[in-house]
Symmetry: C2
Subunit: 216 residues, 2 copies
Amino acid sequence: MNRSILNKCVLFEGLSEGSLEYALDFFNAQEKQYKKGWQLHHEGDVMRNFGLVLSGQIQVFMDDFDGNRMIMANVTPGTTFAESLCYLKRISPVNIEAVLDSTVLVMNTDRLNSPSASPSQMDLQLAGRFTAMLAGRALSMNDRIQILSKQSIREKVITLLSQHSSRESKGLVRLPFSREAMARYLGVNQSALSRELSNMAKDGIIEFKGSSFHIL
Amino acid sequence: MNRSILNKCVLFEGLSEGSLEYALDFFNAQEKQYKKGWQLHHEGDVMRNFGLVLSGQIQVFMDDFDGNRMIMANVTPGTTFAESLCYLKRISPVNIEAVLDSTVLVMNTDRLNSPSASPSQMDLQLAGRFTAMLAGRALSMNDRIQILSKQSIREKVITLLSQHSSRESKGLVRLPFSREAMARYLGVNQSALSRELSNMAKDGIIEFKGSSFHIL
DNA sequence: GGTTTTTCGTTGCATTTGCAATGTATAATC
DNA sequence: GATTATACATTGCAAATGCAACGAAAAACC
């Protein structure tokens, strides 16, 4: 199993070999393979597991009455899905499917939901890590909501860039998005995004090349 | 202190008198008063506390460079704010202010972040409740993102209504929003929302009166 | 190195939505 | 009951954006 992928996830980041083994057991981790197109979970079923993508790509989506697929998340290696629904043992409103041949670490929260009477230090630490994962997710969802709430593409772009610009790298931002993915994240049309980026450059607000942006 | 308000929050819901006392101590709860306009927290400071609004109204917001106030949340009695930032001990990007004279239960997560070596059953239960609160928040943020991602007002309205329509009350939805609040939640202009609601009624998709909707 | 595929930018056009001004109904206050 | 305030609806107009078709550049493949 790929250690460098596991290290990207708060649940397992920086654990020693022995602790990692313990952690995997704690979450009942099982490595599973899914062929492209296979469905991991169906809407209406209780969400009993959550997952960490090791390779490939997993899609969380809903089909509304018109048959339009609404993509909730495209999950790539190193990131997790369905933790909240799993922890709350909710009936799931979403479907989950492999969009590429994928390997997934399938886990559950049984030992969090029914903790042992006297949990070990490690158990407590893992519970804390799970909570931290949820908290971190809430923050990133907040960032997204902030962007989606802006009315103009220009405002969305500026907000996105300022979210990704650190104190050090003054005004220099490299986004982890293709243009298409960036447009989807902002909730706008790809052509319209390209147009607006050009306009912003023309107006002297930004410079950019590919996914590297410079705020002026 | 108002029990019925506390009961609205997962942290304290359904606790016996003694357990409640314990829970309040566990989170270091302190009841504080804030006059309208007072600022509870400033951007850039570490978020050391989270809060439960007992009365009044609290606003979480950011001021972007142009001086526009971007409202992240309007927090009303029975609901909490800043839990994620507090748990992760992050430097806060947001300001928090009382928009009305308010009473707030100010708490912290110290005993979650550094759990005792052998926590009691109650400690474990409270930690679980905190996690459940974060998970629940993630789900509701997900609902919001789903709505904000739709391009048209009509789609947003339909999505909102279907999120609030239960299996029983076939097509009948009473929203907990004024029209103005509904528009803000959908991220659209209030007039445009009214226009589109009228159009949808004209097209025979819905009927409505005030905040009561009937999906046809 | 050439071909194919993918990604991104450009542009014309139709539509939607924001905006602002104003109208109307309902509730609150005196 | 009259007055004021608040919430919601209506509408004309301008601007922004979605959409679609196409072109160019870059990347991937053989």
